[in-house]
Homo-oligomer: 133 residues x 2
Amino acid sequence: MTELVERLRERGWRMTAQRRVIAEAMAGDHVHLAADEVYERARAALPEVSLATVYNTLNELVEMGEVLELTHADGRKRYDPNTVERHHHLVCTSCGRMLDVTADEPGLAESERHGFDLHDVEVTFRGRCPDCA
Amino acid sequence: MTELVERLRERGWRMTAQRRVIAEAMAGDHVHLAADEVYERARAALPEVSLATVYNTLNELVEMGEVLELTHADGRKRYDPNTVERHHHLVCTSCGRMLDVTADEPGLAESERHGFDLHDVEVTFRGRCPDCA
DNA sequence: GGGCCACATTAGAACAGTTCCAACCTTCGA
DNA sequence: TCGAAGGTTGGAACTGTTCTAATGTGGCCC
């Protein structure tokens, strides 16, 4: 059982076969799957799972804060199960591959805050990955 | 005539009535309109302009590097005409309002580069704007 | 000025990703 | 065992964007 499934179970989330395969589909480091990729993987384990359930489940996981929703330039949302370690992303502008990285977090000067109540910073490094170079 | 229109003219871009109203629709600081908002504004100045032209034109401006394409959490692309000063963004998580800010740019340690040829860093600060607080 | 051609524009169809819906199925407590 | 709450489903609907094929137009050449 994966860490994520473990955590969900502890939170008393009703664990059905569908939800389990969906949560397990996202296991691993540097995993940032789009919904259809989660669907693919989930179906490999449980063929009768439906796309609607994948979307329902992913949205619930995001609301619960167990998964991060990332917006990628191609318009498809990605889902990142790594909510434990604070991290940022390195994206290949050519193939779209996305890796987790740690980096210093820039601050925002008071004079630049425009009265906002700041609560998060997201850093995306863009470049060309070795395979595409 | 706006700066952007000026620059485009200098680049020898064929300036039609439609292209002008589209380029002018994006004038100003802290402007990050979605395509349909550009369409609205353009139509106010030239009612017979079509949505297809708005998309064609925006995509061309992005390719020419005269406008930046931003991906917003709601899935709609935003277009930022401020390509002159390097800047980052401050986004309200509640209403989606987006402001330009300047901030230090974080670097990425060699050990975290995974062999990528880095060429850009994008920083997004998230918070709640005064109107939404 | 008139004709021509490359290119701009257009409405609407097509498309992709996501959400909604209404029917059905499961789980679990009483 | 029953009923209610909630999970799952396929397909329809919706939204933002791109494509297509027909039509319009700016500006160069004569």
